[in-house]
């Protein structure tokens, strides 16, 4: 009797990555992302991508998603209920004010597009050039190194995972030494790393 004990797919991290990259396309691609950089930052978009995937593919409750990502239930609710049409109108300049979660709306559009075109199951590798242009190549390397790490996480665990990694010319250990702990989740880590990089 054949017994299967491990999943053969359904990698939610991979799906979140696809939604994240598709969200950049929804925004019009790399060039447009630069224009919109004051409206939403990449960790927020990554967070929204995770929320959309955990809800729609992982079938998680608001409470479970909030706990897993280290955010509030209200933020989860705002992302899930974001009005996609209103967000697109706002981004096109058709309306001046917006009460919706912008990254949430974008991530929802990206997700629906991937589902409709049956591309959610594709493996996508972020090209090195694209990652450098987005200024996220360091983030990609960090995320790859911390895959499988349980959050919240302390300094010692992070240093052991990111040892010998150079982040924009700086040793990861140096940056990590000066950060506050514990780190709640991957988005929190990227956010704090970026803050430290901007300070130097």
């Amino acid at each position: 009797m054949e017994v299967i004990v491990r999943p053969k797919g359904g990698d939610l991290d991979e799906m979140a990555k696809r939604v994240f990259l598709e969200s950049i396309e929804v925004l019009g691609g790399l060039k447009k992302l630069v224009e919109y950089r004051n409206l939403t930052w990449l960790p927020t978009l990554a967070e929204a991508s995770y929320v959309v995937i955990l809800r729609n593919e992982g079938m998680k409750t608001y409470s479970e998603i909030a706990k897993e990502l280290g955010i509030t239930e209200q933020t989860v609710r705002n992302i899930i209920t974001a009005n996609k049409e209103k967000v697109m109108e706002y981004l096109r300049g058709e309306i001046d004010e917006l009460r919706e979660h912008i990254a949430g709306g974008i991530a929802k559009i990206a997700y629906e597009r991937l589902k409709k075109e049956e591309r959610l199951g594709e493996r996508i590798e972020i090209g090195q050039r694209e990652a450098e242009v987005l200024d996220i190549d360091w983030a990609v390397h960090v995320l790859a190194r911390i895959k499988g790490l349980e959050f919240p996480v302390n300094k010692e665990e992070l240093i052991s995972r990111l040892s010998n990694l150079l982040i924009k010319g700086k040793r990861a250990e140096e940056i990590l030494e000066s950060m506050e702990y514990p780190i709640k989740n991957p988005a929190d880590l990227l956010h704090k790393l970026k803050e430290k990089l901007q300070q130097t």
Partner: protein
């Protein structure tokens, strides 16, 4: 633009043929088909549960839900059909022992059963239990690679154990998947303590019963009073076990409550409708 509607006649080629998938129990006689013979409509046993149906088996604890599911699996495997068994509650090694003893009790060659059953052990994998997408992709792999035509999940309740608010979405996801993969499916679901034991309601509410093609309700009652003892013709302390088909949207079926026993060998043996059982016991 892709058409979003179809005329009924366009569905003719896609409409499945309805026939019975044997369970190895008298349930096979409780589903019917109606055929025209001459100018008369004649009711005939379907010979099993409807092909391509996705049925829910529900009941309070220890009513024989898992036994029925396993008996169906062994029967189908013994007939040469591939079965996918997703075990959420019982680790696979215990399931193996149970299937082996059932095969022996049913007089079925266990080596055939071993070859024809694929098990996904979600009881040992949090990822498979908590991530419906991972479970479905794993099921897709098993069904496609091993050419399974029957799928059993014991129990579907275990997939939304602490998030019953998501029950409807999860069951709908699984139901649609099984239909897409052309599976005859059995979903075992548990009841909550507040739910009536004889109703089709299960954990997740009536949503589960509404989504699936039909529900088989297993119930048990301990004879506790002289009145019940006289009514059912059983001594006080004995357990009366019943089985009932609570709706099936694919075929007509017997709506009566039937009495069954669990034999010493762990097999479900359906005896007779309760009304006939009572008369028999009175005699």
């Amino acid at each position: 633009m892709k058409e979003k509607y179809l005329e009924l006649r366009e569905l003719k080629e896609k409409a499945p043929r309805i026939f019975g998938i044997p369970t190895g129990t008298k349930l096979d006689e409780m589903f019917f088909k109606v055929e025209l013979e001459g100018n008369k409509h004649v009711k005939k046993p379907l010979g099993g549960i409807p092909h391509l149906s996705v049925l829910n088996i529900t009941g309070i604890p220890d009513t024989g839900k898992s036994l029925l599911a396993e008996q169906f699996a062994v029967n189908q495997a013994g007939l040469g059909y591939k079965v996918l068994f997703v075990t959420v509650e019982n680790p696979a090694n215990f399931l193996y022992t149970s299937m082996k003893s059932k095969s022996e009790a049913m007089g079925i060659d266990f080596s055939k059963v071993e070859r024809n059953i694929v098990v996904i052990d979600a009881s040992e994998s949090e990822e498979l239990r908590e991530n419906p997408r991972a479970l479905l992709e794993t099921m897709d792999y098993a069904i496609s690679e091993r050419k399974c035509s029957n799928t059993i999940i014991d129990s579907v309740t275990g997939l939304y154990e602490h998030r019953e608010v998501m029950a409807r979405q999860i069951v709908r996801l699984i139901f649609n998947f099984l239909k897409r993969k052309r599976q005859t499916g059995i979903l075992v679901s548990q009841k909550r303590s507040t739910q009536a034991s004889e109703s089709a309601e299960a954990a997740g509410g009536l949503a589960v019963a509404h989504i699936v093609d039909g529900t088989i309700v297993l119930d048990k009652r301990v004879i506790e009073s002289k009145w019940e003892s006289n009514l059912y013709g059983l001594p006080i302390g004995q357990v009366l076990r019943t089985i009932r088909i609570d709706g099936c949207r694919l075929t007509p079926h017997d709506t009566r409550t039937w009495v069954f026993e669990i034999s010493d060998l762990g097999l479900i043996e359906i005896i007779s409708p309760l009304e006939e059982f009572q008369k028999q016991e009175e005699k």
